[in-house]
Every structure is written in C-alpha cells, then in structure tokens.
C-alpha cells in the first residue's frame, strides 16, 4: 500500500542531509548517518509524522539531534581538528581557489548551535522566526547567535573576503 513514505523519503533525504552537513561542520559521514537515522524514526512513526503540519521540520529537528549526539560522542574537539587537518591537506594538494576549504574550516570551528542556525537559515532558507520555531528557541536568541556566527565567519574568511564575499 502506498502510504506516501517512499516519495517523501526521496524528496526529503537529500535535503535533510545537506542541512545536517553544515550543522555538523562538514562531516559527510555524520550527515548521512543522522539523515538515515531520522528517516528510520520518521518511518517508525509515519502515521503521526505524515499528519503533522510540517514533516520536513520534524525530520530535520530529529536529524539535527541525532547528529548532535553523534558529533558529541566522537568528541567534538577531535572532529573539528580532523576537519581542520583534512582541509589543511586539501589546501596543500589543491589550492583553495574558491574559498570553500576555508569556509568549511570556519564553519566547523563555530559552536554547534551556531552551525545549526546557519544551516537552517542559509541552507534550508528559513526565516529567523522559522529557525527559532524549528530549534525551539526564541527569535532573539537566533538573532544573537546568527550575529555572532556571521562575525566569526567573516573574521575567518578575511583573506578570501575581497575575492569571495564582495562578488
């Protein structure tokens, strides 16, 4: 019986994975694992999830929570260092012509909730109100986090700024 899950899964899975990718600082394994886990939970409760106003929001929230725990368990600090060292290697092998290596490194260095806010705001395209509703925090908190995160990213991206951010 077609309960709509297959089509929803094909549409939502890549979308959620990209949001989580940014939220976890650019680790594709964490992003994929968290997205799969969230999809399993969605299927487990599909009757309830399907009836929600916003199943996408729910599954995104679940995926972010799963990613958060995976990230924490593997030791946040070690992960960030791994990403940083990986990108250093990449830099040596392949010049960071578009600034994306620097950008991933800067994102990975942000606090976890800042990455989540950035992901929902910039990747999912939510408004600050929607980000607040999605994460269960106040709009003022989102604004405050976003403002700090932008400041941090701009500072890290300084060398690329003239090439990348003013285009």
């Amino acid at each position: 019986m077609d309960d709509g899950f297959d089509e929803w899964y094909r549409r939502e899975r890549p979308r959620v994975e990209r949001i989580v990718l940014v939220a976890c600082g650019g680790d594709p394994d964490v992003a994929a694992d968290a997205s799969d886990e969230a999809m399993v939970r969605a299927y487990e409760r599909w009757r309830r999830v399907r009836a929600m106003d916003n199943p996408h929001g729910w599954v995104t929230a679940v995926a972010l929570n799963v990613a958060r725990r995976k990230f924490r368990r593997r030791s946040h600090e070690r992960r960030v260092l791994d990403v940083a060292s990986r990108t250093e290697t990449d830099v040596a092998a392949d010049p960071d012509v578009d600034g994306s290596v620097t950008l991933w490194r800067a994102i990975a260095a942000l606090p976890r909730r800042s990455r989540e806010v950035i992901a929902l705001r910039y990747v999912d395209g939510l408004t600050e109100d929607q980000v607040a509703a999605s994460l269960g925090i106040a709009v003022g908190t989102v604004s405050s986090i976003l403002s700090r995160a932008r400041r941090e990213l701009r500072r890290e991206l300084e060398p690329h700024e003239s090439d990348q951010l003013s285009s």
Partner: protein, 412 residues
C-alpha cells in the same frame, strides 16, 4: 512554518536563502553542493529498520505491563529510615508502591521548622529510568520572604500534592500523559526554603531557624548513588525547577562522580544564569552567602578567578563532565526568577523588586545563547516558570515532550 520545496532538487541556482541579509549564503550553498555526499540508503532498508524497531517497542510495552500487573499494590503509607552510619537514604526502597505515589519519611530529613520530612516516590519496578526531581517553591532569605515560605513539608502536604490535579500529577509528571509517566520519580519537597542547599545554624538564619537543605540533599543523593544499581536504575535525570534547579547546578558533581557507569543527565528548569550586567544582583549573592552559607565547588575556584560570573556554570559543567548531557529550560514569564533576581535591583535595603518583563526576556535570550554555546540543549517556553510541572498547550514538533525525548535519547 509551512512545508517548503527542496531548493536543491533541480539546480544549485535555485537554492537561495530567501531574503537573507548578507552575502554569506551563496558561499555556504556552493560549499554544500561541491561536497561529495554518501549515496542515500535504499528506502526499503529504512523501512525494514523502522518495522524492526516498532516490533521491539511493542514487545517492550508488553513486558512492562506484565511486570506492573504482577507487582504488589499495598497503597499504604511507607515509612522507611534506612540511614546507615554514613547517613545515606535508600529512597527507592518503597515497597508495594509500584506506579503510585508514596510518602517516605525519614528522621534525618528535616524541614525548616525542625520537624521531620521526607520525599515523594513513584516507583515503576519495570523501568530503568529515574527522575530525581528537586521541587520548586518560595525561598526564605529574609524576614519578609521567610514569612511566605511554609516552614515544613509533611505527609498531609504530600497527600494534597498527589491527589487528582495535585502538583505532583501535573505536566511531565502526569501519570497518564506526562513525559515521565513510566519513570521512577523521586520528588524532593521544598521543605527548607534554601534552594535545598542551605548550611546555616539557627543563629545565622534570617528567622532564627537553621537552614539544613544541604544536609537533606546530601543524604538523598548519597542514597541514590549507593543504591541505584541494586534497584536496576540505568539512567538518571537529575532535575529541578525554580529553586530546585539551583540544586542541580550545585549538586551535579556529587552525583556524577559516583555514577560513572550510569547515564546521568542534568536538567535545570526556570533557573538561568544570564550574563546580563547586574543579574543576579550583588545584594542577592550576598544574601545567598549570609542566609544560607552557599558556596561553589572547589573546582570552580581552581578554574575561575576574578569577579563571580555564574553564567560560566554552563561551560563549567560541560567541561567538568564532557560525557554528560545537560538541558536548560527557560520561561519568558518566570515570576519566581524575576522576583529572585530582582532582589535589591535598586538598593539592597528594599529587596522586593522584579526584573522588568522586557529585560527578563532579554536576559533569558542571553542565558540561552550562553548555554547553547557551552553545549547545552535549551528549551524556551513562552509562559510561566516551572515548565516541567505545566501542561503546555502545544502541538508543535518542538513541544516539551519531543524536546525531552531527544534530550534523553529515549529510543528503543
């Protein structure tokens, strides 16, 4: 928030940031698109896992129901005093109380007026989960506030609290629908008016009555630590609301050190530490010391010097206990918090001030951001304090139950 189309589905160019107000968005989007992602699992594999979990969950429910049905249900008052020479209390050893509230009174637990008190316990013999909950209530900091604090908590108070509609059957503790309905719950009453942490003799206390909250708390926590394994407890949430939440901040360390093989989660409700200048007031901090002799952990003074900044408590706990999880619940309309933190806002001689509502919301935003940066999970309620004891009228996915579910990782 409506369901939105996948802007990445067809063309990268379609992924705009819906009116974001700076130029970081396209760069982040490009970085995402250029990252090699793993192939998605086949949908059949996802469904197979989901079906398997559903089956496991059904089996677990059947097992729990059978265990509950076979348990004794004496329903009588249980008075236990199992204090040993170390004076720890086995508060979980309530016989015949499966899934019903019981009053356990101990000679060594003392209310502010010197009479004996106890704890309210709702055991679920089939559950490996324990909520150790420090209850909220008024504080006794000076003559005026002490007059408003009930000086004792007795069996009669317990009976009122566990009656239908009582305080211990509300919100997340509701036996039918509350998040913790299937957990074992130990609720510690606010019998001492000192954040469960006071350590002053009668001569120093504002109304001439000793503050002994710290002694009560120590016995309860020591007892839980010592006896939890025996009772099959595998996960503990150390939680508190309002004045009880301060207990969690301060007492977490004692629990954590001894529960190395048990999952312990700290959950503070309606007691935040903002970085807002002037909050909490010096007046309040002085009263904490003068009235209750409150102190900070030794590791705190090893780590921090200079002016006291309690908002560092978030990073302090996450850094002291990196393998633990912490949750913070804030309330926009927190009368208790506004009153407590407002004490002496203008001058210490006139302590009965409240933090203005707008400033409070700002302070809570600030506290949330600080806690989030420190790795805490935060739930912000748009309403009154003591959120764990309220029935939140919410059907959003970020409602309290869902948030707690994720915090606890309560998955089969």
């Amino acid at each position: 928030m409506g369901d939105q189309p996948d802007r990445f589905a067809d063309a990268p160019e379609a992924a705009d940031a819906s009116g974001t107000d700076d130029d970081l968005a396209p760069h982040i989007r490009d970085a995402v698109i250029s990252t090699q992602l793993r192939a998605a699992a086949p949908v059949e594999s996802i469904k197979r896992h989901g079906r398997r979990r559903r089956r496991r969950r059904r089996l677990a429910r059947v097992g729990a129901g059978a265990a509950a049905a076979s348990a004794l249900t004496l329903g009588a008052l249980v008075v236990i005093d199992t204090a040993d020479e170390n004076n720890d209390l086995d508060v979980l050893a309530v016989e015949g109380s499966n899934r019903t509230w019981q009053w356990s009174e101990y000679d060594s637990l003392v209310s502010r007026d010197g009479t004996t008190t106890g704890v309210s316990v709702r055991r679920n013999d089939a559950s490996p989960d324990l909520l150790l909950y420090f209850r909220p209530g008024p504080v006794c900091l000076d003559a005026a506030s002490c007059a408003e604090h009930p000086a004792s908590y007795t069996e009669a108070d317990h009976n009122a609290d566990v009656a239908v509609g009582g305080a211990l059957n509300a919100g997340t503790l509701d036996p039918e629908s509350g998040y913790f309905r299937d957990w074992t719950v130990v609720a510690v009453p606010n019998a001492t008016g000192d954040l469960h942490l006071g350590r002053t003799g009668a001569d120093a206390a504002p109304d001439g009555r000793a503050h002994v909250g710290s002694n009560n708390t120590r016995q309860i926590i020591k007892g839980v630590i010592k006896h939890a394994k025996k009772h099959g407890i595998e996960r503990i949430v150390l939680a508190g609301s309002g004045s009880g939440a301060f207990t969690v901040y301060r007492a977490f360390e004692a629990v954590d050190e001894s529960f190395s093989d048990v999952d312990v989660i700290g959950l503070t409700d309606s007691a935040s530490f903002p970085t807002t200048p002037g909050l909490p007031t010096n007046c309040l901090l002085t009263q904490f010391t003068d009235a209750w002799n409150l102190n900070l952990p030794r590791a705190w003074s090893d780590r921090y010097t200079g002016p006291l900044d309690l908002s560092r408590y978030y990073e302090f706990l996450t850094e002291q206990h990196p393998s633990r999880r912490f949750g913070l619940i804030t309330a926009d309309d927190d009368e208790f918090g506004r009153s407590l933190y407002g004490r002496g806002l203008d001058r210490c001689a006139s302590p009965n001030q409240k933090v203005p509502a707008a400033a409070w919301v700002e302070a809570m935003d600030d506290a949330s951001a600080t806690a989030i940066d420190a790795g805490w999970d935060v739930f912000e309620a748009a309403g009154r304090e003591d959120v764990l004891l309220r029935d939140l009228d919410s059907t959003e996915r970020t409602d309290l139950d869902n948030w707690l579910d994720e915090l606890m990782e309560n998955q089969p």
